[in-house]
């Protein structure tokens, strides 16, 4: 049993989400965008874990179960993202997303 402040955790995951959002919006390198998405995703997973932990009853177990599934989803997303990086690099010779504009009208 430990005593931890809820507000601190909420502020931390909010700040991490803001950092991830900032990275997604400002970076041009595909790998950096992937990393920013991972940071935002980790903020979400942290949310599930501590809201579960503070809810009492069997809520902690549910929160941790959802977190386990989400970690799997995040790893899958990185694998697909890197496949896109490799395909983009082969097609364009660069992984700068500013040059991947083939679908623009």
């Amino acid at each position: 049993m430990t005593d931890l402040p809820i507000v601190g955790f909420v502020a931390l995951s909010t700040a991490l989400l803001a950092v991830g959002l900032f990275g997604i919006l400002t970076r041009r390198n595909f790998i950096l965008i992937l990393i920013a998405i991972e940071i935002a995703m980790n903020a979400t997973i942290l949310n599930f874990v501590y809201f579960g932990a503070f809810s009492g009853g069997s809520g902690g177990l549910t929160g941790q179960s959802i977190a386990v599934v989400l970690i799997g989803f995040a790893a899958t997303e990185v694998a697909v993202g890197l496949a896109i990086v490799l395909a983009l690099n082969r097609l364009k010779g660069t992984i700068n997303v500013a040059q991947a504009t083939d679908l623009k009208l």
Partner: protein
């Protein structure tokens, strides 16, 4: 202030600093190093929250597999591993958007109960029963999506595709 609160504060500061550093340094390999520290730091937070299974999973999947995958992505897409990124700068609009999001969310935190609450410890056996019992369908869905993702990734990177 208890030792747990001190540990949480230290871990939170490290998490924020490493996340920001990962996105602002100009060498991609340094980014991976920073993000590796970030993942290990989050694993420590899970241990602090009495979720040891998740902490180990975070260390294995994120700090291990994802970091190496990202490093591999950099290795195969660059001629010189340590070449620097062109400075993209910080756009004023995205920065303002991120700041506004943070301010709104922090304002919403005021609605939450302010007192600290005890965190319960769970046996990993109970977690596995919960994971394979009521949450079993989600696990199956995860497996199916992972299988589809592997097939899609192989299709994307196979030779001879134009």
């Amino acid at each position: 202030m208890s030792i747990e609160e001190l540990a949480f504060l230290a871990l939170a500061v490290v998490a924020l600093v490493t996340a920001v550093a990962a996105l602002l340094v100009r060498e991609l390999v340094h980014t991976i190093l920073w993000v590796g520290v970030f993942f290990v730091d989050l694993a420590a937070l899970y241990f602090l929250l009495e979720a040891p299974f998740l902490g180990v999973l975070q260390l294995g999947v994120y700090a291990g597999a994802v970091t190496v995958l990202l490093l591999f992505g950099i290795m195969v897409t660059r001629k010189r591993i340590f070449s620097r990124e062109a400075a993209t700068g910080i756009g004023s609009v995205p920065f303002a958007l991120a700041v506004v999001t943070f301010i709104f969310a922090v304002a919403a935190v005021g609605e939450l109960p302010q007192s600290s609450q005890p965190v319960r410890t769970y046996d990993p056996t109970l977690l596995s029963e919960n994971l394979f019992g009521p949450n079993g369908p989600w696990l199956l869905l995860l497996g199916l999506i992972m299988m589809a993702a592997v097939a899609g990734s192989i299709y994307l990177v196979r030779e001879g595709r134009e």
